[in-house]
Symmetry: none
């Protein structure tokens, strides 16, 4: 429990060191959308470079409960100032560029950042204008280009959607790194509420089921062996829990009682 | 090159078999946002259940160049109709439920679908209302619950953002599976001998089952709603095929006939 809280705290502090920088956004609604996307993934540092309209009620509206992120926004006149204190600067881009650049998918980039760390400095991730993205000049200020693998026939993610995917991948990568790190990882694949039925309980179920199938004349009407085999396969496939066996047997018992009347 | 085109085609056809179903969306802008999110990841089959406002110019505006997805939208009065032909039905949910259900993260779910295949039927992924998500009743119609790991302090993704993340993960998983695959063994996780039962076939089974439970006085003897919920979960997680549904319904019919004597 404590370990879990520690790991959550480590992830939170790593995410706090990531700055999202949006360059010349046109629509204030998108700024609000970015703020909300960030907060859902645990990020909170948003910088804007020459936004067309900000602050704006539409930004507030789309931010929903992430108004605290909006309230903390810093607005810059030039990109260099917005990223001045950052170590790694990454630029998101849909297009491939004339000059090849260190490029990673959102997932690959996030995994690398999660494992390598940020060298004690904030990291900036840049998003460009709704219509035209980042300029070549801006992209050349970046250590990395980050692409979101998308439909080749239509790869134009909305600005806030792109921010959502990138922030999501950053959180995922930190969760994965944190799970891989410490003790043997509780995996906790599925905390089921009831124990799985034992083989004996299942045998009891199948025995009663066969008796009922005879009583209701299902066995004569169909190819009996096939049917029970398929039912065994059905229930065997994923594991029936004790309560489920109890329910199924309760039904069969009621059938038997109803027939005896 | 040709291989790449083939793989792209395979991915496209797998994505085409995935239906996004939005239940009672309030804001037409979100419908447009979902359409755009889908198209950027190569999905195109969008169904709406009782949308508050649709069609609507705001949906068009937010869809940007994904108006073809909007044009093809089908609107349904009830959820059952929207998923009638589907095999796997997954419901997105932020909350954890009283009765644990087969649950996966968006990434885990996508990976599983990519490797296992869909048994020849469309798959539906349900998204709920902006304010309140899917109801418990709607979630109980799902084989799987899908969660997006988010900031525990603020996990409320906008509807279209959630759709973006899920669609993104589906595409990522298919890309990964296609890269891992090449020549040999198509993973063949599941070569089932019969097609999975459709949601309509399963609804028919549950309907008959409930009638029989009343007829045999099982419903009054136990806490009825819990029992049928648990049975839905049981069969939902097994992935019942058509022959198995036929067997189960055959049994129920024999019970009904035996009682009528």
């Amino acid at each position: 429990m404590e370990e879990r809280a520690n790991s959550e705290g480590r992830i939170a502090s790593r995410l706090a060191a990531i700055r999202i920088v949006v360059v010349e956004p046109s629509h204030p609604g998108n700024i609000g959308g970015v703020a909300r996307a960030m907060k859902t993934m645990g990020l909170g540092d948003l910088a804007l470079v020459r936004p067309k309209r900000f602050p704006d009620p539409q930004a507030q509206w789309r931010a929903a409960s992430a108004v605290d992120v909006l309230d903390a926004v810093r607005v810059f006149d030039c990109l260099d100032d917005a990223v001045a204190d950052c170590g790694v600067v990454a630029g998101t881009s849909a297009r491939s560029r004339r000059i090849p650049w260190p490029t990673a998918t959102a997932a690959g980039f996030a995994a690398q950042m999660a494992s390598a760390g940020l060298g004690g400095r904030p990291m900036a991730i840049l998003f460009g204008r709704e219509a035209s993205g980042l300029t070549n000049d801006e992209l050349q200020r970046c250590n990395w280009h980050v692409v979101i693998p998308a439909n080749p026939a239509y790869s134009s993610l909305n600005l806030a959607m792109a921010a959502q995917v990138v922030c999501y991948e950053l959180r995922q990568a930190l969760l994965a790194a944190s799970a891989a790190e410490p003790a043997p990882a509780p995996a906790a694949a599925q905390e089921w509420d009831r124990p799985l039925a034992s083989a004996a309980q299942m045998a009891g179920l199948y025995g009663q089921l066969e008796r009922v199938l005879v009583a209701i004349e299902f066995q004569t009407a169909n190819t009996p062996h096939q049917a029970i085999t398929r039912l065994r396969r059905l229930f065997g496939r994923l594991g029936v829990d004790e309560t489920e066996v109890a329910i199924l047997r309760g039904i069969l018992t009621h059938v038997e009682r109803a027939l005896a009347k």
